[in-house]
Assembly symmetry: C2
Homo-oligomer: 208 residues x 2
DNA sequence: AACAAAACTAAACAAGCGTTTAATTTAAAC
DNA sequence: GTTTAAATTAAACGCTTGTTTAGTTTTGTT
């Protein structure tokens, strides 16, 4: 599928992503975007109609292929627990290398204010939940996973742990001595991912 | 300890809390606050100096007694796992009944922009981590808890799960059929809290 | 080369922003 | 009851905001 945006629009979208993620939607002005993208301030309205619709376009631009990647994992020939681990890895990897947009989603699409845009986003989340659900049910049928877990609450545990870590980046950089960006990223890729996998595995398998 | 704020200031702080939580710091104007608090727009500058310092005052006003409550739990005569459960309950309860301020902390104190205010907030978090640490080490010495957990990552799992759930409130209201505010709150108090307790217990006790 | 559509620009628009000023009302102290 | 300080107000300040206008340049088509 080809992108519906031309080069200029993509240029604007990527600058907007950086600034929205950094300063928030309300904290970013069209003049900020125009300056950094080296375009005239009228171009945003010209190409996207309004600042609000620029945000919508940005969401569409960035969240269109996660669904497929998740569904692929479900189909693979793996043990349920390995699928779960792979799913967690995919989530962390994707969000971590697209921090900007997920930070924006996290920040801007929670308030009532943007409820209309929420619809498409909500559908995406429902689809993702379906994928997780089918993996866990598979594990339950095989007798590997316990049956009293609340499946919709597993996503909050996976994503919430990552987000809370990442949102408190300065705190953990200091606490864990992650002086460089590389050290920080590496900690996420290894320790944090493993912690989440370990947590979810324990939750799914442990019998009290 | 008596509060340093007079009635009028508290009135302003509480309105600011509602609006900052709802619309964000940048999304809220002093005129919004003044109108809802039924005061003159000059009163904010008069009492707090600036909008930025109003936010600082709000943090101070709301986060001053969590530390003690946590330290009390550590001291109690309970099994480590019960202390953990109690700590989780305290966190959820407190945050849930002070949603506004924690939402603001979550949103506004992550960007580099407000790094100076971050200092006091960071100290608070370090203290809270110390409390958690001493409980877990107690459990490890007793041979109840496994020793390869990364303690600083447990807080992100507890708080992150709750936040992610709460930040996606409209989604979960719809998904879990929580039509009224009461149903939603009750779900947090019972199912979500239990899910988190179950998760952390499994993580701390399960041997692979 | 002539034309039309698309891309782009500088300037202006009204509205809202945080903050300050200067004047007035209220409260407290003596 | 007079004086002094604190609380409160309406108005104005200069600045930034998102968007629109009207005009110019660039591009593509015949």
């Amino acid at each position: 599928m080809k992108s519906n945006f031309n080069d200029k629009q993509i240029q604007i979208l990527e600058v907007a992503e950086i600034l929205f993620a950094e300063k928030g939607f309300d904290g970013t002005s069209i003049r900020n975007i125009a300056k950094l993208a080296k375009i005239n301030i009228a171009m945003v309205s010209y190409y996207f109609g309004s600042k609000e619709r620029l945000l919508e376009s940005l969401i569409v631009y960035r969240t269109s292929d996660l669904k497929n990647q998740l569904e692929n994992i479900v189909q693979e020939e793996l043990e349920p627990i390995d699928k779960i681990n792979k799913l967690i890895e995919l989530y962390i990897n994707r969000i971590n290398s697209n921090r900007g947009i997920y930070r924006i989603l996290h920040f801007e699409f929670t308030s009532k204010k943007r409820e209309q845009n929420l619809q498409a986003f909500s559908e995406l989340k429902k689809g993702n939940l379906k994928s997780l659900e089918s993996i866990i049910e598979e594990g339950q049928k095989k007798g590997i996973f316990r049956k009293d877990v609340i499946i919709p609450l597993i996503t909050p545990t996976i994503l919430g742990t990552f987000f809370h870590f990442h949102m408190n980046k300065p705190f953990f950089e200091n606490l864990l001595n992650l002086k460089t960006e590389d050290l920080y990223n590496n900690y996420i890729k290894t320790n944090l991912t493993k912690h989440i996998q370990q947590t979810i595995k324990a939750l799914l398998i442990y019998e009290s």
